[in-house]
Symmetry: C2
Subunit: 314 residues, 2 copies
């Protein structure tokens, strides 16, 4: 038994992984579990079985605990489809729109959508934004959150609400080009491993080339190969250079028309990569928050009055 009495089971259930948090009063994280059981890995769509594997012991030990989840688990391919909240969307709207899975073992937080001529959707990131605002309440007045990843999100917030956002497929485009295009060829060469300093240099070189290009990434992608053929870039550094081009392009387009200083949210190593890229664009004052999902899950559950002990059936 945990020393502190638990008050909530919170899940961050995405496409490729499931994180489970046992949370105590005030949103303290008592225990964390990470399982390779994202939506795409759930055998036979047995979501209930996977949840049992992930947190069945917690539910047995504390039968009164409620469970809440954010992420792709609420998509059409997930356990239950939770209709999107529409921009502008705040924490209250999200907390009012939870959707129970069949059987009611879990309440799912809706994603956020922007409709109109250029529609866009998120699932999971809205909860990270809520958590970021819990950690830094002053940012509710106005901030530009950047959540790097497979599908990066750029999310301007004002008055505590997500008023708009854009998705950049930077991580997926990079992985796809690395695995399946000619630009990934050098990665399989028997090249000596490069040290961290050289890798960081090659990344910065890509960001700088993009920044100074005058147009965009399209005429520069092939340079990740041509520079190697011309003997001006070591083969084992070419993917770092490519990463710099793609992240540089995301930043160039993302900053377009934005005034607020960016705040990074997410994986520490990836945030650090973006922080270095922002610095090359002359933006040095970038706050970096870590994994804000637990704080967001707690805050939404609290507003939905799920963090007290539920009435047990007699």
């Amino acid at each position: 038994m945990a020393a502190t009495e638990p008050a909530l089971i919170a899940l961050d259930w995405g496409t490729s992984s499931l994180r489970a948090y046992l949370m105590g009063p005030g949103g303290a994280v008592l225990e964390t579990r990470r399982l390779p059981l994202g939506l795409m890995q759930v055998p036979g769509r047995d979501f209930a079985g996977v949840m049992e594997r992930a947190v069945g012991d917690w539910r047995l030990a504390w039968p009164g605990l409620r469970a809440v989840a954010a992420g792709m688990i609420g998509s059409a391919q997930g356990w239950v489809e939770a209709p999107y909240a529409e921009c502008p969307a705040g924490t209250d709207e999200l907390a009012r729109a939870l959707v129970p899975v069949p059987g009611g073992a879990l309440l799912v937080i809706p994603g956020v959508a922007r409709y109109g001529a250029a529609p866009d959707m998120m699932r999971g990131e809205e909860t990270q934004i809520v958590g970021a605002l819990v950690q830094r309440p002053a940012l509710a007045a106005g901030a530009l959150f950047v959540l790097p990843g497979t599908h990066s999100k750029w999310v301007p917030v004002s008055d505590g609400r997500i008023r708009d956002f854009r998705t950049f497929m930077t991580g997926e485009v990079f992985a796809t080009l690395r695995e399946h295009s000619i630009l990934g060829r050098f990665a399989t060469k028997d090249a000596p491993a490069a040290d961290a300093g050289r890798l960081a240099e090659a990344f910065a070189r890509g960001v700088t080339a993009l920044r100074d290009s005058g147009s965009g990434a399209a005429p520069l992608l092939f340079s990740a190969r041509a520079l190697v053929l011309a003997g001006q870039l070591r083969p084992e550094l070419s993917l770092e250079y490519l990463s710099g081009l793609l992240i540089g392009e995301e930043i160039r387009c993302g900053l377009h028309g934005e005034g607020a200083a960016p705040v990074l949210v997410g994986d520490a190593a990836l945030c650090d990569r973006y922080r270095r890229a922002f610095a090359l664009f002359g933006i040095d004052e970038v706050a970096v928050l870590g994994d804000t999902a637990p704080a967001g899950l707690w805050r939404i559950a609290e507003l939905a009055e799920l963090t007290g002990r539920k009435e047990l059936q007699p």
Copy 2:
């Protein structure tokens, strides 16, 4: 026997296919063959064997004929490496730099490279440019050639010489995203086949979205999925829309800093796609040339004095 006495065997030997032309005086194409025996398909690097399969009968019938080739066959992965001619490069420089394969059965035209801070390379396109200048001599004074493809090339020519160029990986990026990213998912759906008019509309919608974006393709790629999820784009049209985004981005970046009117060279269907995209950028006067490789191969061979009958060994 052909009615006209042949004067040259010319090969356009690329990564994925081999085209062979039997040519008569003045560069007339007497016969064309197309074989799926590009560099990547040559068994055991037996280039001589493949050449024998492709044009052995021609060589037997006319033993005095010389053979010339352009394309990736002259790369480090090809039959013989033909060092790049450097920008600015004209027809004369190319004709002076032919490299024989071991045994001398074939003379290979070098590619063209641009070195410096942003190096770039082409192999094969230089010969298409030479052919385009043969077909339209007035363009030698100044033109912007656009050769769409897996790796599109944008090639400004002045005074009859390639003075600079840029590679866009548009075709490869499209194919890679279609086959391996989430954007290709809808393509496998059991959707009704769309008619040509609707496909063209979806393509134009992608080009227009890109043109009006204010920044670039990066924040728009995901819209190829989001528009479908929002019910604003039919799934079977999403790849046409994506093609419009990517070709639009190539044109946006390619036109950056260029003044000359573009001239399209290459596959008719692909050139037509680009022509429609240029029109959406307000550029209606786009000349379209077809396969100019035979004319280029002939011109270079002529300058290198290969189009006469060679002295046969006694």
